[in-house]
């Protein structure tokens, strides 16, 4: 049988990545009544018993009920705790902890580090939480990776983004991806910000206005960054008006999303060192933007 994606995930993630590190504990000479209070306040159904940093047992709500039944709530935890504790190791894969939960039906398991000290507690809920966080992270990574095709030619980096028309959920993906790429290449943050803003605006324009989406090509060269944004329609009737701050043909729907304020092209022009726009109604628009990389360039 083929390993599923989730199986792979629970094998790759380790117990320490899913455990709760803040653990409520009791000492063996504290009373069962005290243990009950701690559990009620922390809303847990069991907790490790710790003496001199060493875990010596575990006390659960069932132990407390038993002690209550016999009227022994003033007795020390030591007398009622379970000494033979099932534990998991911090370095184990999650899958191993999960099968232990399935087998034992315990609600929580103490986690031990390499020095056999209590490192945390793991529960089915904390495992679920860790899986969701990891899935989210992977999803965001995938989305970003998919957004661009990168190629390197003679030291110059090219990133190409295909932007689909009407897909507001993805607005800003190209910009965020490009900005991160520029940061990793040591580009001056103030320049990277201007490039990212221009890209964000261009991306949003394609999403709002283009008939079939468009493409953004970013070239990182030795002394400049160039953006070329193209689409195949509908084209701009009056470029001068389109460049007037506040002029917009966007719908109310788009405006409700916080875009279409008529600041896109003016903002791109503001950010860029060189700005050129060509458009023909019925054919499309081509935007050519350049940013100079002034100041000390990153060392080669």
């Amino acid at each position: 049988m083929e390993f599923s994606f989730v199986e792979e995930l629970v094998h790759r993630l380790k117990v320490f990545q899913a455990m709760d590190k803040e653990v409520v504990t009791v000492q063996p000479d504290q009373t069962m009544r005290h243990a009950q209070q701690v559990m009620r306040e922390a809303r847990v159904s069991g907790m490790p018993v710790v003496e001199h940093d060493m875990m010596v047992g575990i006390v659960t709500i069932e132990d407390i009920i038993k002690a209550l039944d016999h009227g022994h709530t003033d007795e020390p935890v030591r007398a009622w705790m379970t000494r033979d504790v099932v534990t998991v190791e911090a370095r184990w894969p999650l899958s191993r902890a999960m099968s232990l939960f399935e087998r034992t039906r315990f609600g929580r398991l103490p986690v031990m580090d390499e020095d056999c000290l209590l490192a945390g507690v793991i529960t089915p809920e904390s495992i679920l939480r860790a899986l969701l966080v990891e899935l989210n992270r992977l999803l965001a990574q995938d989305e970003e990776r998919e957004a661009a095709r990168a190629s390197v030619d003679g030291g110059a980096l090219r990133l190409e983004f295909d932007v689909a028309g009407g897909d507001f959920d993805r607005a800003g993906l190209a910009s965020v991806r490009l900005k991160r790429e520029l940061a990793s290449r040591g580009i001056d943050p103030t320049i990277a910000r201007r490039v990212a803003i221009a890209t964000h605006e261009a991306e949003t324009n394609l999403i709002i206005h283009s008939s079939h989406g468009g493409r953004i090509v970013a070239d990182l060269e030795a002394d400049s960054i160039r953006l070329v944004v193209t689409d195949d329609g509908p084209g701009i009737e009056d470029i001068d008006r389109a460049l007037t701050p506040g002029f917009s043909t966007a719908s109310d729907f788009v405006r409700n999303l916080g875009f279409g304020a008529g600041m896109g092209l003016p903002n791109i022009r503001r950010c860029a060192d060189h700005f050129e726009i060509k458009s023909r109604p019925g054919y499309g628009t081509r935007l050519n933007v350049r940013f100079e990389l002034r100041g000390p360039s990153p060392e080669e």
């Binding site: 966080v133 989210n136 992270r137 965001a140 507001f168 959920d169 607005a171 800003g172 993906l173 910009s175 965020v176 900005k179 943050p189 910000r193 990212a196 803003i197 890209t199 964000h200 605006e201 949003t204 405006r255 999303l257 916080g258 875009f259 279409g260 304020a261 008529g262 600041m263 896109g264 903002n267 503001r270």
Partner: protein, 119 residues
């Protein structure tokens, strides 16, 4: 002023926490396009927008944190995005104007205590 002081002055609930940082300025707008047009540095965003675009806009302009006004609850996609990129996100029940006044009062009093010159 510190981000933690901003949150305190707004009575804001944190959805995505982060290490504390210095806030020197605020970009307050519902139009993300307006925020994309800001020149501010070391700043945070006050907005009524709760779509993931609010977070992407923050990332693009390098805003340090986002506070949503009017107690609007951002959807899980927005919170998830903020989490993944480490953008502190909070919600205040104050409306935009009241939120601006609250942060502004603190911001200017902390600025004038550091720098006694007046305008």
């Amino acid at each position: 002023m510190l981000w933690s002081e901003v949150l305190e002055s707004l009575g804001a609930r944190q959805l995505v926490e982060g290490a504390d940082f210095e806030v020197q300025s605020v970009a307050a707008a519902d139009l993300l396009s307006d925020i994309l047009a800001t020149d501010k540095e070391q700043f945070m965003i006050l907005t009524g927008q709760i779509s993931p675009q609010a977070i992407r806009t923050a990332l693009t302009v390098g805003a340090l944190g986002v506070v949503v006004v009017r107690g609007k609850q951002p959807p899980p996609e927005t919170v998830g995005l903020a989490q993944n990129y480490g953008v502190p996100l909070a919600v205040t029940d104050l409306k935009m104007f009241e939120a601006c006044v609250a942060v502004g009062a603190r911001l200017w009093s902390s600025a004038s205590s550091k720098n006694s010159s007046t305008v």
